[in-house]
Symmetry: C2
């Protein structure tokens, strides 16, 4: 395998999970290749590297796979500890807070987002997903408060976990008929700040219109529209 | 608060999540108090300490709360790094593997277990939960293979994440009509080994009959039997 001596990320360009890893690798200056996976026709390498979940992202390091995006972020912090700034703070209690909020994102955001983009247009689930999403985002706004980032002054673990959903906001808004900027101005400003102040974020995230087009294709594939 | 200067665990004695924390604190020799929570009438302290999820376990350290069981295990490893053996290995790749399997347990076991114990006795969900549980346990058996523990020779992070479900096996078996020992002998032997070789496990887990009684009470409370 060509990349067996280096760092290779198996990703799909819209994946909020895979794009976390792109941000982390870029932030830490870890040289890597990105291989695009077709999610309706997964590669033999993806299936062999993540037999349990058969999902992106997978990070291959010297051919050895690491799976699950938050696990990969921790791995990057530990395996490339000398490269650039750490994602997790040094203090044990602050680390626990960052992990708590990243786990909150994983427990809540994909579920309500899925109700919006994986339901037929007129399904009651869409309205339900929208309400849940606003609740979840308001909880995150309350935690953010006056801070620039979740852990304070710079982009960290919880920010990276959440910001990769921002390119999907336009899709959620169009499918569920609401405005995240109006409902959640603090979170919207935070997402803009993440991209504006961090090249690792702006360079790693897809264009929201491209996400919308991609999701439209997936919805047709699943017979949802 | 009496325990504000020490380490206090808010727990419910049957909780697989809370009991992970008991094992970790005991294994590392961290002095602590355990406060029993009534899950149908939660204390003001629990609600104030974990406003986001309102769930056990919560670990209070000098009055500051840490929530989410796997986050707490990482916190214990980091905050009490000098006390006893670490739960996570030293090597970054091995740490990622341990975290992957603990995340797998959290993603899979509570969901299929819930189908068994939170469904009416004759619901199709019970049969579904049983089949999924056997699949999940067989995946875990394949990972375990010939090893004594998930990370090798001693009790570690993934073992602690999973072993706290073992006292519930009797309840799953009785409610869904199957034998975990027959279906999954490798996992059954591993669970017995965890308890036999580690006092921190045997001292932290409830009696399976007590779990069954407790679950029976919960099922009556929820109108399931």
């Amino acid at each position: 395998m060509e990349g067996s001596k280096g760092v290779v990320l198996l990703n799909c360009f819209v994946s909020p999970f895979g794009n976390r890893v792109r941000i982390a690798l870029t932030k830490k200056g870890v040289e890597h290749e990105v291989t695009s996976e077709n999610m309706v026709n997964k590669s033999a390498l993806l299936l062999a590297s993540n037999p349990v979940h058969a999902k992106v992202p997978v990070l291959l390091v010297a051919g050895k796979p690491v799976c699950e995006s938050l696990v990969i972020l921790e791995f990057i912090d530990e395996a490339f500890a000398t490269s650039g700034e750490q994602l997790l703070p040094a203090d044990a209690y602050a680390r626990a807070q960052a992990r708590f909020w990243a786990a909150y994102v994983d427990a809540k955001v994909p579920a309500c987002a899925g109700k919006i983009w994986l339901s037929p247009a007129v399904a009651p689930a869409v309205e339900e997903g929208k309400k849940e999403m606003v609740d979840v985002f308001k909880t995150l706004e309350a935690e953010l408060g006056e801070k620039a980032y979740f852990a304070g002054e710079s982009l960290g673990f919880a920010d990276v976990a959440l910001v990769t959903f921002a390119p999907w906001f336009l899709t959620y808004e169009r499918l569920a008929g609401f405005s995240i900027a109006e409902e959640c101005p603090v979170l919207t400003a935070w997402a803009a700040r993440c991209a504006k102040e961090n090249e690792c974020v702006s360079k790693s995230l897809p264009d929201p219109e491209a996400v919308f087009q991609f999701v439209g294709g997936m919805r047709k594939h699943f017979g949802l529209e």
